[in-house]
Assembly symmetry: C2
Homo-oligomer: 144 residues x 2
DNA sequence: TATAATAATGATAATAATAATCAAAATCAA
DNA sequence: TTGATTTTGATTATTATTATCATTATTATA
């Protein structure tokens, strides 16, 4: 099950860059889109390998890079040192509440905070590019 | 030039944990405190080595860990993949404006944002532990 | 459709940051 | 001062990611 829009974005990007499509790339995109958000390269590799046992690690990393370049994927460096990837298409910008016990991610957007961040950029004379905000704590389930 | 308070915090911590003091640890703390903020392990190593040419990389990493444990140092994972360390003692919590061109760090605190962050934690039933917020952009100097 | 040019793949080696190991040296409590 | 314990520096190990390269797959076009 591939979402048509995302598939088209990827294919257009490949065509634009004179790159070739392949079964592996199709499968990696499919798995990425159908899996939980905030996946690691290793987790993605583990799932893709079920269908493509011969797939190499390098292909996973190469394809993730392409997905990031064409705007379908965002790389996140988490405080614990891991690198995770999340869907970008059809997802507005958001920040994260992260449970330090169970590693659960909750996506949040607070328009008031966003507005204040813009003001901060302006106050210090910075041209805004992007921001990240992560709130680390212990979620309801893990508290009890 | 060592600041007495920090030195005491470190020594107390070592005593409490039944660890020993050493010239190397003293020197690393001294360099760390007197250097610019947001230093990498490699940069710290480079400076300390001028006074202690025989120092090993492992000692740098080991001592950084101790400094983090005793609350004098905070580890920051930056979006570009580097790990940097900043002073914690005598510095209230703050967030960062980061210039993606020249790598300049500006420390900022916005009490309104802080308050809204606390509200976000509460709204999702999280027990707050800490947060990080980084605003990436291009600073005044690099714009022109 | 066959071909030729180009790119992708998978296996493997390389790299870079950090951590673990261990014998020798330093610290410190008694 | 000594002896137990810790630290050190050198080195090796580990982990995530990237580069290399021969083989295979894709694709434009004849």
């Amino acid at each position: 099950m591939i979402r048509k829009n995302e598939e088209k974005i990827f294919e257009d990007y490949l065509a634009r860059e004179n790159l070739k499509h392949s079964e592996q790339r199709k499968e990696i995109l499919d798995v990425f889109l159908n899996t939980d958000k905030h996946i690691t390269a290793d987790e993605l590799y583990g799932i893709v390998r079920k269908k493509y046992p011969s797939i190499g690690y390098a292909t996973i990393y190469r394809t993730i890079r392409l997905l990031c370049e064409c705007g379908l994927c965002l790389e996140l460096k988490i405080d614990d040192g891991t690198t995770r990837y999340e869907h970008l298409y059809g997802h507005r910008h958001h920040d994260h509440l992260i449970c330090v016990k169970c590693n659960r991610f909750v996506e949040v957007v607070d328009p008031d905070i966003e507005r204040l961040q813009e003001k901060l950029f302006k106050r210090f004379g910075f041209a805004p590019q992007r921001h990240r905000m992560e709130l680390y704590g212990i979620c309801k389930k893990c508290k009890k």
